[in-house]
């Protein structure tokens, strides 16, 4: 067991956790923020568990909770500011960029970082940016539309 200090969505948490606990389990089960999902066997392929670690999109199933000790985490619950959704969240709604919604939190976290680094992407760049996120429902067409529309608003 190890005691760790992690700031998640602006709030400071001090918890004692098993060394082997995955960061995604810490977020979901210890803290109770269940917006971050698990869709593969902790292999980093599906991308549903994507969060921001110090502002960078990472897959929280590929890290131990103790590795995030002293760092700052943002999850999908932390995107909206006082119930005001980000342009990306709004665009996903308006463009029907989600169906079952299971992959959506990870895609939002990944694409938030993507648009910050590449504010005027082409469709092809968006599609390549999404390689680390699997979606089974949408066929990706509306997801690409949503990211493109969000870029227009943010840019």
């Amino acid at each position: 067991m190890k005691t760790i200090n992690i700031k998640i969505n602006g709030a400071m948490y001090t918890e004692t956790v098993p060394v082997r606990m995955l960061l995604v389990d810490f977020i979901r089960e210890t803290i109770g923020l269940t917006g971050t999902h698990v869709g593969c066997t902790y292999e980093g392929v599906c991308g549903a568990c994507t969060i921001h670690l110090d502002g960078e999109a990472v897959k929280s199933c590929l890290m131990l909770a103790i590795q995030a000790d002293g760092h700052e985490v943002t999850t999908v619950e932390g995107l909206a500011n006082n119930s005001e959704q980000t342009p990306l969240q709004t665009a996903f709604h308006e463009q029907h960029g989600l169906q079952c919604g299971f992959c959506t939190p990870g895609i939002l976290m990944n694409m938030t970082e993507f648009l910050a680094k590449n504010p005027h992407p082409t469709d092809e760049e968006i599609r390549h940016g999404l390689i680390g996120n699997l979606c089974r429902c949408t066929g990706y067409v509306h997801i690409v539309n949503a990211v493109r529309e969000a870029a227009k608003i943010i840019g």
Binding site: P18, R20, M21, R28, L33, T34, G35, T36, H37, V38, G39, C40, T41, E43, V45, C46, A48, T75, V76, E77, L79, A80, Q85, Q89, F92, H93, E94, H96, L98, Q99, C100, G101, F102, C103, T104, P105, L108, D123, E124, I126, R127, H128, L130, I131, N133, L134, C135, R136, C137, T138, G139, Y140, V141, H142, I143, V144
Partner: protein, 800 residues
């Protein structure tokens, strides 16, 4: 024919309304199975078989039980006296088959790699996994059969010991009821083949693949002596799960409440069967008097579910030289895996696929048979396109092959043979209720200049570029009528909805079906808004809770747009009649429902628009102040309606795609994918577009990337997403959806159910395009998956 349902201003029907579901899903407030926790909840992990076929000699659970935090370890031997065996009557189709007997945990032997052998229950999920590693099982390997044709040989190893062969099901779809009628039909088919101008005869093979949802399965069960069992299950049909659990656990159904979580991370048919895992989780919750939760890992999921297709078709097609399709003869073989899945038993999908084999083309005669074989592989589970993807691939390919043989443009051949007048009954007896296939086809063709494309194709070839075009069409079920559902799945097909007004004029709708991303909350609210003249924001929808919803057979087979939405509309209509009667009484006028306009939150007397009342006030008056009522009328505004169409219903699509193939390595790129759809009157085009995109990409992903691979020992080699590859965004093209609708005359809103069968026509269209691009090599591809390596090999073979 419905008249006032155009996408006109002011109607919520046809509006591109953003989804109500999204407001929680984009902020991380979805409520999926793994988000639900209960006090004292224990965590379950299955120990699964390492062998495809083996006797269980011994199981030593002592080390696992000794681990701190472990509460219970159970094996098959522990539960045979505590639970009834599968199958139970509620889960049996009314089709003659060799149904296997089995328990939730394997007893005496394991029949596939990944079969559940033991269950570990612990206070912590990490400890449960640790303990599962400590369960020591001694096996004696048995001969394995993983090929369906080998499984049907007389000396094949027997998969299910309660039967003396591996043929779980067989059927012949040859005209006629009696043997002599069938014989004479078979002879007539043979005569056609003898004299036809063009005949093709090929073996078509479609691999094992399916539609794995991003959220695996799960169950959380809780027991109390007073209330019985409460079971949250990832499921598309909670009401059937309830009945099955009652029979298997031997408790009254009245003491079972099954709840499909409000949000489910996709289903696509994979969450439609009744699964063995749920039985043991429920049983252990009862036995331990602790809530028990099982969340399936991706590894487990890929070992056990989402596996479909896996059919072989020996197909012959006869045509005249002017391109008329004459006869179809097919010997289909399906690999069902062990057959151990409630409701479907591995063979119901290929059964329906065989029924749907003629597609929307007219054949003078057909002779179709199917044999389904059990093997030492995971039991097939339904996947969107339900049994129909392999036969559809074979038929769409065969049409191009015949067209090539007689030198006809494949597009022209399709148009010539499409059913031109509906209703129509296919050669296998499938009823096509309505629509206009020619209109859909012509709309598709109007999206391109085919003559110009052929010129460009020839010019490109001179430049060394290989481009091609492929077509495909699909008749798909729009819901499943009781007429088909009762024999096929032993369940009703009707849609059911409860519509309840509250005293403040807001609406609650209850559905016993259990969606997983299809946007039912939104489309339901649009149907209600259309009926009552209120805003979709005023309606909330509760789904999938057997404690609060009317009986429904589940979210399957495109039942929502066809049957469920019709039931919602019907319940709203019943309430409108009551509202109109009471309002007329209050206004002291003689009027009925047709005399009132429900619009903009008001109910207005058409003949004198000054006579009106707010919808909210009417709700309060009828629910809270039921005095001075019309004679015989009572208060309250709550209606449950059931909708059944007189006949089975369908929807229809046609697609084309354009590809470029690199002949030096077989790689290809999809440049364009365009569709034409008859989905009847559309409730929400945004949602329908999304359904079509998703279905097409599932079809592409199945055709190009995904493949479950078992080696000759039955070891499953593809149990993670590194090895079982799904299409990602960069792999896939943009998709253009167009519509050529004919309102359905058999539903009150003219809607059709859509999306379920939609992937079926995709692999054929894609492969046709690849073969068209490679016309100079004369290549005809008859197997999936469609991989660059297999295309390259075909090219090499053609060159030599």
């Amino acid at each position: 024919m419905p008249s006032n349902l155009k996408n006109n201003a002011g109607s919520w029907l046809g509006a591109r309304h953003g989804r109500k579901e999204d407001s929680r899903l984009v902020v991380g407030e979805g409520q999926y199975i793994s988000d639900i926790v209960l006090p004292r909840m224990l965590h379950a992990t299955f120990v699964r078989s390492e062998y495809a076929h083996a006797k269980i000699l011994s199981i030593d659970t002592s080390a696992a039980e000794a681990l701190t935090g472990v509460v219970s370890v159970v094996t098959g031997a522990d539960i045979v006296d505590e639970l009834r065996a599968m199958p139970q009557p509620v889960l049996l189709p009314n089709l003659p088959a060799k149904y296997p007997t089995f328990y939730p945990l394997s007893v005496d032997k394991v029949k596939f790699h990944g079969a559940p052998v033991a269950l570990v229950i612990a206070r912590d999920k990490y400890i449960a996994v640790d303990a599962a590693e400590l369960v020591a099982i001694e096996y004696e390997e048995l001969p394995v059969v993983v090929d369906p044709e080998a499984a049907l040989e007389p000396d094949a190893p027997i998969v299910n010991d309660d039967h003396d062969h591996n043929e779980i099901f067989s059927m012949t779809f040859t005209g006629g009821e009696t043997e002599s009628e069938q014989e004479s039909n078979a002879k007539a088919v043979e005569e056609i083949f003898k004299t036809a101008d063009a005949v093709i005869k090929e073996r078509f093979r479609v691999h094992r693949t399916g539609v794995t949802p991003m959220e695996p399965r799960g169950a959380l069960c809780s027991w109390s002596d007073s209330d019985g069992l409460t079971a949250w299950i990832t499921t598309q049909r909670p009401h059937i799960d309830r009945l099955a659990l009652a029979d298997l656990l031997d408790i009254p159904a009245s003491k079972i409440r099954v709840i499909a979580p409000r949000d489910q991370g996709g289903g696509f048919g994979v969450k439609a069967p009744f699964y063995r895992e749920n039985i043991i989780i429920a049983h252990m919750a009862r036995k331990l008097r602790h809530p028990v939760r099982w969340i399936e890992s991706r590894h487990e999921s890929l070992m056990n579910v989402g596996q479909e297709r896996d059919q072989i078709h020996y197909l012959e097609v006869a045509a005249s030289k002017d391109g008329k399709l004459l006869a179809l003869r097919n010997r289909g073989i399906a690999d069902t895996g062990t057959g151990e899945t409630g409701v479907y038993w591995g063979f119901v999908m290929p059964f329906l696929g065989a029924v749907e084999m003629p597609n929307g083309y007219t054949w003078d005669k057909a002779d179709i048979s199917l044999r389904a074989a059990v093997t030492n592989k995971a039991c097939l589970t339904p996947s969107r396109a339900f049994g129909n993807l392999p036969p559809r691939f074979a038929i769409e390919r065969a049409i191009d092959m015949v067209a090539h043989k007689i030198g006809m443009e494949p597009a022209d051949m399709r148009r010539k043979n499409l059913v031109s007048e509906l209703p129509y009954t296919s050669t296998t007896g499938e009823y096509f209720d309505s629509g206009d296939f020619i209109k859909v086809w012509d709309n598709l063709i109007s999206q391109l200049d085919l003559v110009a494309f052929r010129k460009e194709q020839a010019a490109a070839l001179k430049r060394g570029q290989y481009i091609g075009i492929g077509f495909g069409t699909g008749v798909e079920l729009s819901g499943v009528a009781s007429e088909l559902m009762v024999p096929m799945e032993n369940q009703p097909g009707y849609g059911a909805a409860t519509v309840r007004l509250d005293p403040r004029g807001k609406v609650q709708v209850f559905s016993g079906d259990a969606p997983g991303g299809q946007g039912h909350e939104t489309t339901t609210a649009q149907v209600v808004a259309h009926a009552f003249g209120i805003n979709p924001a005023d309606t909330i929808v509760t789904t999938g809770d057997t404690g609060t919803t009317p009986f429904g057979s589940g979210t399957i087979g495109a039942r929502a747009g066809s049957y469920f939405m019709s039931a919602v509309h019907k319940a709203c209509t019943e309430l409108k009649i009551k509202i109109a009667r009471i309002l007329a009484h209050d206004l002291s006028i003689e009027a009925n429902v047709d005399d009132f306009n429900f619009t903009n939150g008001e109910v207005i007397y058409r003949s004198d628009p000054t006579k009106k009342k707010k919808f909210t006030e009417i709700a309060e008056r009828i629910i809270m102040h039921p005095i001075n009522m019309p004679e015989g009328e009572v208060g309250g505004l709550d209606a449950t309606a059931f909708f059944e169409a007189a006949k089975p219903m369908i929807c229809f699509n046609a697609d084309f795609c354009i590809v470029e193939v690199n002949p030096t390595n077989g790689e290809f790129k999809i440049q364009k994918w365009v569709t034409s759809e008859d989905v009847g009157n559309v409730i929400n085009p945004l949602i329908v577009d999304g359904q079509m995109h998703g279905a097409i990409v599932q079809g592409l992903s199945n055709a190009v990337f995904e493949q479950f691979i078992y080696d000759e020992q039955g070891q499953q080699l593809t149990a993670d997403f590194e090895n079982y590859k799904l299409a990602n965004a960069a792999d896939m093209p943009d998709i253009q959806i167009t519509y050529a609708p004919t309102p359905c005359p058999h539903t009150p809103l003219g809607t059709r159910g859509i999306g379920e069968g939609r992937p079926s026509s995709v692999p054929g269209a894609l492969t046709n395009a690849v073969c068209d691009a490679l016309t100079p090599f004369g290549i005809e591809i008859t197997e999936l998956p469609l991989r660059p390596s297999s295309i390259w090999k075909k090219i090499q073979d053609a060159k030599n």
